[in-house]
Symmetry: C2
Subunit: 200 residues, 2 copies
């Protein structure tokens, strides 16, 4: 089991204070990615800019691309909580169309950060590669919700299809967004969801 720095919300049990943080490394890294490109930026470049050793970087992130997913755990958690909190009176499809965009909501000051992230995620092959496990989690959460609503297992055909539809809509909305950054992402996301989620 690899060692990992204790998360910031853990109780302080003494020990050497952290000289850096996942968030700090992620910001330094993303800035370099935007400036020089993902592949042209080596981990050594990132650690040099952040004033940390190469080995330390890999304690915070298991791969170079993972810095682009600092927010992933929070987004997935919000999605799961919003689904769990939905009333059973609200139609399955409506719940998904409402909660998925809400789970990805970020304050306006992070708008350009999100746009940069979306551009990297959808256009740089080396980054797209690392996205698969995150996409899978996003899809699974939707599938589990639909399966629970339908009283089936997660290997139900309709539940699987719905999970893929939610992911497809999310990716489609972001793809459209980076081509039309003036539009409202949340609104786009909902339109794609309404188009793609089957009416079940």
């Amino acid at each position: 089991m690899p060692w990992m720095p204790t998360p910031t919300n853990a109780p302080d049990r003494g020990g050497r204070p952290a000289i850096t943080s996942a968030r700090h490394l992620a910001e330094v890294a993303q800035a370099l990615f935007v400036e020089h490109g993902f592949e042209a930026t080596s981990v050594d470049d990132i650690t040099a800019a952040a004033g940390v050793s190469r080995r330390t970087f890999f304690r915070y992130f298991s791969t170079k691309a993972d810095v682009l997913w600092v927010e992933s755990a929070a987004e997935l958690g919000r999605f799961r909580e919003l689904l769990a909190g939905a009333s059973r009176d609200e139609a399955c499809r409506d719940v998904l169309c409402r909660t998925a965009p809400a789970a990805l909501h970020h304050p306006p000051e992070e708008h350009t950060w999100m746009l940069h992230r979306a551009q990297l995620l959808l256009t740089v092959p080396a980054v797209q590669e690392k996205a698969a496990p995150r996409y899978a989690r996003w899809r699974e959460i939707a599938t589990e919700f639909v399966a629970a609503r339908r009283g089936t297992g997660t290997d139900d055909l309709v539940a699987i299809a719905a999970g893929h539809a939610v992911l497809a809509a999310t990716l489609g909305a972001h793809q459209y967004w980076i081509a039309h950054p003036g539009e409202d992402l949340k609104n786009l996301h909902e339109r794609f969801l309404r188009l793609l989620i089957p009416d079940v």
Copy 2:
């Protein structure tokens, strides 16, 4: 520009005959993947089993995972041709539901090979990573078809959504299939497509 062996359909202009082939390397590699796992199989293991040098392997495939996509170019080509040959009398949605499964059709003797491939593609993270560019091509072909039918550009919202729907249905069908290998993939594929492609 990296050097590449001439494809088998090229005219013979003399020169040293190839000691191996992409197909042979792919078969050796996939067998090792199935037996020992993808990550536990190094390129050295593959080349040792195939009786070629490490350098030669990278002339046929640019990455280790690419051996799982030997058929990709042919499948994409079939999809594009089938779409191009469709009558304009046939509804857009019907064309997609018919051609996508047909483009992925393989003879029965390759059934287990396809199943192994699907299992590796959908369950091994290191393999899923390399899938992104292939998925993107598959999606683009569908998007281009829908955009042409609608008389719009490929940045049309509905065309983008349709492209994502086709990909989602393809992945969903394979996911369902590896959990229920007794079912007919072609039939499953069509059902997922009918569920997910919006009626436009």
